[in-house]
């Protein structure tokens, strides 16, 4: 019943971190897509850290989870049952064929309880009950050839008995240690809107970044997404309308972050530009676009141009010299609507991503006014996943799109940009253009 060769199909237990629940399945699906691995979900719930999937081989299992941020580990599932009696019954009958292959190998046996606690002596008692496996190798806590895990799941912290118990043999651990490596508290250069390490790394997984690919962040800020993408081997490019962000100061900059993590070889460039007036040639050369666009709360959502549409359309000359060439020149900027910016991002992605390339961006919303309809769409981009991070009165979503095959529909693009450009021409305030910002400062009062 349980084939156990390296290349035999296998039922696996995935042990997830109980955090960012709605991202967990999407992350493994993304890694499946990246490696061409078909993940069949047999059992999954946002309320449990334990999930069961079917894979074509153990080799695939190791590959799939190896760089996951949200999966702590993946195990061959030796058994799952509502209590220990049932578990032992099952394991005795169904895994006996595996036992000979375990002989003479050093091992370690763990007990982990979700929502529960087990004292040392209870753990020993639980482990001893598996004596019938007949493991005869030495016990090695440091470097065992096999690691067995008994996992217990309790409904809540008050119940005495677990509702589910699992036995699994470890195939691979994930990459959660990177969350600590990239911890913002230890990062050389950060800002008020740096993306936290964990979500930055998850975003890089959703974007299918990998060695040799090119990823771009048009709102690079302090470069949180870029270092995450480069961690997985991608070459990275970033830009920001605010030159101070890219340059940093006193030796702390996007580049110095790359130096800190030893990733300089994959940092292509940082430059200063406005997404709505991009210098990037319209050609499909990017494998991934990852960003947290400005939504105008802690940072301005601005584009180039004067607030006053009547203003100087002639070059400004000062002291007989073109003003814009002088040191310290800062071009005028005007407020812009968040929705128009979202459309611009989608169009930019359609124009610059290779087929199958990914756009991943974060979008904040006030909780009461979000519906499925608010997910921006584009005819050349297919929505892959929508994952939510909830806060008290607002939430933000990570939207992931895949660039469809084929050429961009140019006419459609042109008519869309005409549509959104129009209302922008009047003189308006940031709040009028940005309902999220307005609600944020109003403290998300429910609309009466």
């Amino acid at each position: 019943m349980y084939p156990f060769g390296e290349d035999d199909p296998v039922k696996c237990l995935v042990y997830f971190a109980q955090i960012h629940e709605t991202f967990r399945r999407a992350e493994l699906d993304a890694l499946g897509e990246l490696y061409g691995i078909n993940v069949e979900w047999e059992d999954y719930s946002d309320n449990s850290p334990f999930s069961i999937i079917k894979l074509a081989s153990r080799r695939e299992a190791r590959k799939l989870v190896g760089r996951s941020i949200l999966a702590k580990g993946i195990y061959e599932l030796w058994g799952v049952a509502p209590d220990y009696n049932e578990l032992h019954k099952f394991v005795r009958v169904n895994t006996a064929k595996m036992w000979p292959s375990c002989m003479g190998k050093s091992f370690k046996f763990y007990v982990e309880a979700f929502n529960g606690k087990r004292s040392q002596s209870e753990q020993h008692r639980i482990i001893e009950q598996f004596a019938y496996l007949g493991l005869d190798g030495s016990i090695s806590m440091k470097n065992p050839e096999m690691t067995f895990n008994v996992m217990e799941e309790y409904k809540n912290k008050h119940v005495k008995a677990p509702t589910r118990v699992f036995l699994g043999r470890l195939l691979a651990v994930g990459s959660r240690h990177l969350v600590d490596t990239y911890d913002l508290k230890k990062r050389h250069y950060i800002g008020t809107t740096s993306m936290d390490a964990e979500l930055g790394l998850i975003t890089a997984n959703f974007a299918l970044t990998a060695p040799g690919k090119i990823a771009y962040d048009p709102f690079v800020g302090t470069g949180s997404f870029l270092v995450s993408c480069s961690q997985f081997g991608a070459y990275t490019l970033g830009s920001d309308i605010d030159g101070r962000q890219v340059r940093g100061k006193k030796g702390r900059s996007v580049l110095s972050n790359f130096k800190q993590y030893g990733l300089v070889s994959t940092y292509l460039d940082g430059f200063v530009s406005d997404l709505t007036n991009t210098p990037l040639r319209k050609t499909r050369f990017l494998d991934a676009i990852v960003c947290d666009p400005p939504y105008g709360v802690r940072e301005g959502l601005r584009v180039l141009g004067s607030r006053d549409p009547e203003k100087a359309k002639e070059p400004v000359v000062r002291d007989g010299e073109l003003r814009y060439l002088q040191d310290g020149y800062i071009p005028p900027k005007r407020p812009y609507s968040f929705l128009a910016m979202l459309d611009d991002i989608l169009q930019f992605a359609a124009d610059h991503l290779v087929s199958g390339g990914r756009l991943c961006f974060w979008m904040p919303t006030a909780n009461e006014d979000f519906s499925q309809l608010d997910i921006p769409t584009h005819p050349e981009l297919e929505i892959v996943s929508v994952c939510v991070q909830e806060f008290n009165k607002w939430s933000r979503r990570l939207l992931t799109y895949s660039r469809k095959k084929g050429d961009p529909i140019i006419e459609q693009a042109a008519s869309r940009s005409a549509e959104i450009a129009e209302p922008e021409k009047k003189k308006v305030t940031a709040d009028e253009l940005n309902t999220f910002r307005k609600k944020y400062f109003e403290g998300f009062r429910p609309v009466s």
């Binding site: 060695p211 040799g212 090119i214 070459y235 490019l237 830009s239 309308i241 030159g243 890219v246 340059r247 300089v264 070889s265 994959t266 292509l268 460039d269 940082g270 430059f271 200063v272 530009s273 406005d274 007036n277 991009t278 210098p279 990037l280 040639r281 319209k282 050609t283 050369f285 180039l304 141009g305 004067s306 203003k311 100087a312 359309k313 002639e314 070059p315 400004v316 003003r323 814009y324 060439l325 020149y329 071009p331 005028p332």
Partner: protein
Amino acid sequence: MKILTSNYITCAVKACKSSTLSFPLHFQDAELVQEEVDFNAEFIVGILPRIEWDALIVTAAELGFTNLPAQKPEPTEEAPLGEQVLKDLHKLLLETQVTEGKLVCGNCQHIYNIHQGIANFLLPNHLV
């Protein structure tokens, strides 16, 4: 700015996009720096089809590198690119950077400054 990046950069002025004169932008008063970075043959092979070769020749020549072949190397399964060709491309595309200087549009003549390796493509009001 790395030479590779310059192959994807054109004039930020919208009216220039349709003009063939706006790409590549032209380096002026460029200070060049060579900085060693890890060699990744796979990346060079993968990026080659996404490079506009004629523009690369123009850019390279303006910076004093005149030994690029006139035609883009076209590797095949029987004849993959040799290690030396890849290393030369790596050196030009990823290890050569302009740290100070200007990029000029051949269509509108607008000048973009490069300072400490970071180019500034923000436009004054009359060009937006």
